[in-house]
Amino acid sequence: MQRLRSAAAALFGGGTGTVFALLIVILAGIFAMNPGFFEGPSLMAFLKQAAPLVILAAGQYFVIVSGNFDLSVGALVGAQVVIAARLIDGEESRTVPVLLVMLAFGLTVGLVNGLITTVLKVQSFITTLGMLLVLYGAIRLWTGGAPTGALSEAFRKVGRHGIDDVPLVGQIPWALLVMLAVGAGAILLMRTRFGRIVMATGDNDLAAALSGARVATVRTAAFVLSGLSATIAGVLIGGFAGVSAQVGEGLEFTVITEVVLGGVALGGGRGTALAAMAGALAIEALFTLFNQMALPATLRPTVQGAIIIAAVAYAARQRTRPAAVTAPATVSPS
């Protein structure tokens, strides 16, 4: 009985467990509308499409839990896709070198975000907003407004194809495997010493610093991880959707929504990587549900906005009650 009650509390308490309850409800809704969705191929197609967002959510999770924001991920994803197209320019042999260039670029952007935030003490909102503008402008400046070049087949493989002829599911997309690897990596990383320090830093950076944690290093590392996740997501999105000037636009707000839906508190120190990624899956599943209910796509933002407010309000209600004095009711992330 006790266990049952604590399980119920975990599911409906407004913390990280709630997102799984929400995910199950949405999936049940999809099943009710269209039982065929859970047959191998269409489920795999859904996961292939959701994979980049789950990966971005994992990266954003580290930044948010350490007490910051990363508003530059959408622009970084767009930049990576455009860089890939321009440098590869259809030549198969350039695929691997360009991937290395993209990796270096993504890590550098994360590092710069982290250093400006920690060393120059600029709030991450402003740092990454500035980075968003810089990346947006620089990429268009470099390409003259419209992306040029083309991706190679090998490059597009990861986002588009998978292991074929698997019994039951048909095809296991590479994107799904990448997503699982990144997800497992994020969860394991949070269990290491580094992960604990990230969490402690987001919860109370002063206390963490006084306990000997290298707060600045950890926060910078979180930004680098976000840059890495944006790079991986860029490879997948570029392969899946191809090259256009709009790739990645507005993605940062979707990703932050998803992470917060996973019960990760803005301001840091609360929430798990698994729940953040589940939040991403929940939002993507919700969009699938809309499609099946034939709701106009233009209504998506409205429902997304209502859900995110409701979810956070629900979580806040639970948290302020038991410990009204100690709980920081409105923690603004720095």
Binding site: F69, I116, L120, K121, V122, Q123, F125, I126, T127, L129, G130, M131, L132, L133, V134, Y136, G137, A138, R140, L141, G145, F253, I256, T257, V260, A265, L266, G267, P296, T298, L299, R300, P301, T302, V303, Q304, G305, A306, I308, I309, V312, A313, A316, R317, T320, A329, T330, V331, S332, P333, S334
Partner: protein, 332 residues
């Protein structure tokens, strides 16, 4: 009281000094290029650019001072332009009604933001992102294109100017003046600083913090409504597409450029006006020198980060002297 005035003055003065510096460097650069930054056409361009961001940034200053944020102002402005244009419907007689309707709708959106933040304890970033998305969905679904018709009489608001000063910029400066007076001379204005400084201390000192937050958000919403009126006057019609310009990010950039702390409790509208002006001067300089518009985004990003890094440096020295404590004490 005296320490407060001197520090506030010096930090605002620094921003106006920076504005003068940007004007001087920009003027010199344009002169080297063979142009004149201070020619009438360029001055008009510069001042025209200030008004729209100005309205949004003034409202944004109030909420940021309360340690809140409003990411929905761009959507509110777009919706307001539609409300204005459809209510006017080409009839000059409907103008007062339309202005009233816009202020009501925009104020209600602000009130909703404030209520979600103050009563439901939702983080302002999420709350206003959410309301913004809700409005976006409504606009996308209901308005496929421009709607409504703004009578010529009201379009004057967008185009008339006295000498080289556009009327819209004058109205913006008047609103800024009113906001400065409000923050300096009214009780609620002072309470906004207190709430932004430390909401718990403010509450324990007897300030009705929810009421202050609500007021700030309603005023911010109404300022966005005025920006929407200006959009309608300029376009001659209501435009849902206006939100794609990400005005809210411009406004936040102008506010922090103007020296208001994103963490609340410190800053003011005078600085914000200078921040808006700096961005407008940069835009005009780029325009006159025909620099690639995308380079503008790059430089804008760098300027914003650099400015805040500079302020952060000053702020570090000052936290040692606990300025927030001094403010609430001096004002109480």
């Amino acid at each position: 009281m005296r320490t407060l005035n001197t520090t506030a003055l010096s930090s605002t003065a620094m921003i106006y000094l920076a504005l003068a510096g940007v004007l001087a460097v920009g003027g010199a650069a344009v002169a080297l290029d063979g142009g004149n930054l201070f020619a009438t056409a360029n001055l008009v361009d510069m001042l025209t650019r200030t008004s729209l961001t100005g309205f949004l940034a003034i409202g944004m200053t109030l909420v940021i001072l309360c340690r809140s944020l409003d990411l929905s102002v761009g959507y509110t402005a777009a919706l307001s332009s539609l409300v204005a244009a459809t209510t006017m419907d080409g009839q000059a007689a409907n103008i007062p009604l339309a202005i009233g309707a816009v202020l009501l709708v925009a104020g209600l959106i602000g009130a909703a933001n404030g209520a979600i933040i103050a009563f439901l304890k939702v983080n302002p970033f999420i709350a206003t992102l959410g309301t913004g998305l809700i409005i976006k969905g409504y606009l996308d679904t209901e308005y496929k294109g421009p709607a409504g018709d703004v009578p010529a009489a009201f379009q004057q608001f967008g185009y008339t100017r006295i000498a080289f000063v556009p009327v819209s910029a004058l109205v913006m400066l008047a609103v800024a003046g009113a906001a400065i007076w409000y923050l300096r001379s009214t009780r609620t204005g002072h309470h906004m600083y207190a709430v932004g400084g430390d909401i718990d201390v403010a509450r324990m000192s007897g300030i009705r913090t929810t009421r202050v937050l609500l007021t700030a958000h309603v005023l911010c919403g109404m300022a966005a409504g005025v920006a929407g009126l200006l959009l309608a006057a300029r376009f001659g019609t209501g435009s849902a597409e206006a939100y794609t310009n990400l005005y809210e990010l411009d406004a936040i950039a102008a506010v922090v450029l103007g020296g208001t702390l994103l963490l609340g409790g410190k800053g003011g509208v005078a600085g914000t006006v200078a921040g808006v002006a700096i961005l407008a001067v940069l835009d005009t300089v780029f325009n006159v020198m025909q620099i690639d518009p995308f380079a503008k985004d790059v430089l804008r990003g760098v300027v914003i980060i650099a400015a805040v890094a500079l302020y952060a440096r000053r702020q570090l020295d000052r936290t040692a002297r606990r300025p927030r404590f001094a403010i609430s004490e001096g004002r109480a």
